[in-house]
């Protein structure tokens, strides 16, 4: 039994799936983020002025890129794995001698790639509105990569527990989107009243956006080491949860 062949098969199948329907998976973020940059960055941003010494457009670009990475990494895995459950072809994986970790890595790798590809598309779109600075490329890449992994894992958990397509939309609409918007994409947490600054620290997306922004602009509301450490901790935690759920067969057996 060649585990690498099984891993490649799952990963290739999932990547091929989202590339085959690229007008649904890669194109929409280009349009929606263009509107963000136009409305928030250009039209409103010119009146906002600067934040922490950086022009408003430059300030929001990293957050908007990472927001796209988050939502697309998440939705790729959530929708694809749930569809496999819904159409019962997840059974092909369950009857085959494939380890839980191979299934997980196969799905997550596709989610990560889609998240990073969408992030790249948004980054290219942003070049029409501003000049992107790069302060620390390693931190940009590591943060984007970690974030894509984390939210692919979260999407996988969502798919495991989902019983219908509404359950797939529920978490992105009611949890992910508010956390994204309250994670400091469009503002600095230092602008908030002290109590809200403390509450914001419970939002994991705040750490990722600040770390990512640091990579571009060299400014952050919180320590980058702390941010990346927490993201890594969340990745380990969610990986263990996913493997445990797969091992028990939660949501996919019985």
């Amino acid at each position: 039994m060649n585990t690498l062949i099984a891993l490649y098969t799952i990963s290739h199948k999932e990547i091929h799936r989202f590339l085959r329907i690229w007008p649904q998976t890669l194109l929409p973020p280009a349009i929606s983020t263009s509107l963000y940059f136009l409305i928030f960055g250009k039209l409103i941003g010119d009146r906002v002025g600067s934040i922490n010494g950086v022009g408003y457009m430059d300030y929001i670009v990293p957050g908007v890129i990472l927001m796209s990475v988050i939502s697309h990494a998440y939705s790729n895995v959530a929708s694809s794995f749930y569809a496999a459950k819904f159409q019962s072809h997840v059974e092909e994986l369950l009857v085959a001698p494939v380890s839980s970790w191979v299934i997980l890595v196969g799905y997550v790798s596709a989610g990560v790639l889609r998240g990073l590809m969408v992030g790249s598309v948004v980054a290219i779109i942003s070049l029409f509105f501003t000049e992107l600075q790069v302060y620390n490329l390693t931190i940009i890449l590591v943060t984007a990569f970690f974030t894509a992994i984390l939210f692919s894992l979260a999407g996988f958990i969502n798919a495991i527990f989902a019983n219908n397509f509404d359950d797939i939309a529920l978490i992105p609409n009611f949890i992910l989107t508010p956390l994204n918007y309250l994670g400091g994409v469009f503002y600095s947490v230092s602008m908030l009243p002290e109590i809200w600054q403390h509450i914001s620290l419970a939002n994991p997306i705040l750490y990722m956006i600040n770390s990512f922004r640091y990579g571009f602009l060299g400014i952050s509301d919180i320590s980058v080491e702390l941010a990346l450490g927490r993201v890594l901790g969340f990745i380990v935690l969610l990986t263990l949860i996913c493997l445990n759920l797969l091992q028990k067969g939660t949501g996919i057996r019985d």
Binding site: T3, I5, S88, E91, E92, A96
Partner: protein, 301 residues
């Protein structure tokens, strides 16, 4: 070594329904085995547990000596499964379904292509290899599932009602395929509602009823239990009521069609003599149903 060995297998679903109440079952290497039971008897739950699609409550299952929990991968490597419901990605082409499945079993692409070609030709699907599977007929989709199950060259193949809803021509070609696969050394477990299929194909049989094995023997022994034969008689003339002849039980199906139950101790000659006495002329006769069907009904009722 047994192809499949099940010991004291139980399953209680989360809603409290007890589907299996302690099943013991052994299937020999190379056997052609029928697992029969009415809807809800526990056949699909048993197959689901064997194929790792359903978690068991207690008991043990091993495939060619490999426990499905402790040696999960080795057990799965020996198993091919054809489920009742379509469970492949209907947006993939026929050949891709097989190639992806081969990949899950760690089969390299080059080898997978060779095996896929052979399996698709065997199932008369080679011409459809580039067709998106949702465009196939129901019978073709079932054959895709059989072709897919053959890809890893399993030593045990479980077919859960593979011929359900399939026309007789395709059903016959499936029987030929199953016999061929069995001749090549693969043990086959077949569940079916067409009992003549089980009677014609299988050497051994188990009947499951309300989560328990109520009969487990070879086909010949089981059929020897039958002590009544059933026939349909086509009559020359119309009858209004069925005749009453001691030792025989008649039912009037249509005005010129009669069914009769004949104890094995009575000969057909005796029947014809009695009918002649009652002035009933027979044009032709045929078996009412296959023998196994009657026995099955007797056992589960």
């Amino acid at each position: 070594m047994y192809a499949l060995s099940i010991e004291n297998l139980t399953k209680t679903y989360s809603n409290g329904f007890v589907a299996l109440k302690g099943i013991d079952l052994d299937v020999e290497e190379g056997d052609f085995f029928a697992l029969l039971g009415a809807n809800g008897a526990g056949k699909s739950t048993t197959i689901g547990i064997v194929s790792s699609l359903i978690n068991k409550t207690s008991g043990s299952v091993s495939i060619f000596g490999h426990d499905i929990v402790k040696n999960n991968k080795q057990a799965k490597m020996n198993l091919g499964i054809v489920p009742q419901e379509i469970n492949f990605n209907q947006y993939e082409t026929v050949e891709n379904i097989l190639l992806i499945y081969a990949g899950y079993f760690g089969i390299a692409r080059k080898e997978a292509k060779i095996r896929a070609k052979k399996a698709l030709k065997q199932m008369h699907l080679w011409e459809k290899r580039d067709t998106v599977s949702r465009r196939l007929s129901g019978g073709m989709k079932r054959r895709v599932m059989i072709a897919r199950a053959l890809i890893p060259k399993p030593k045990l193949l479980i077919l859960d009602e593979p011929t359900a809803g399939v026309d007789i021509e395709i059903r016959r070609s499936m029987w030929e395929m199953m016999e061929q696969v069995n001749k090549e050394g693969t043990a086959i477990i077949l569940t079916t509602h067409y009992l003549e299929e089980a009677e014609n194909l299988c050497r051994n049989i188990a009947i499951i009823h309300e989560g328990m094995i109520v009969e487990n023997s070879d086909m010949a022994t089981l059929l020897s239990y039958i002590n009544v034969n059933y026939f349909i008689l086509d009559l020359e003339k119309t009858l209004i009521t069925p005749p009453e002849i001691a030792g025989y039980k008649f039912d009037l199906i249509e005005d010129k069609v009669l069914s009769v139950a004949i104890p094995k101790s009575n000969s057909l000659n005796q029947l014809f003599e009695q009918l002649s006495i009652h002035n009933i002329q027979i044009k032709s006769l045929k078996n009412k149903s296959n023998r196994l069907e009657q026995l099955f009904m007797d056992i589960v009722q």
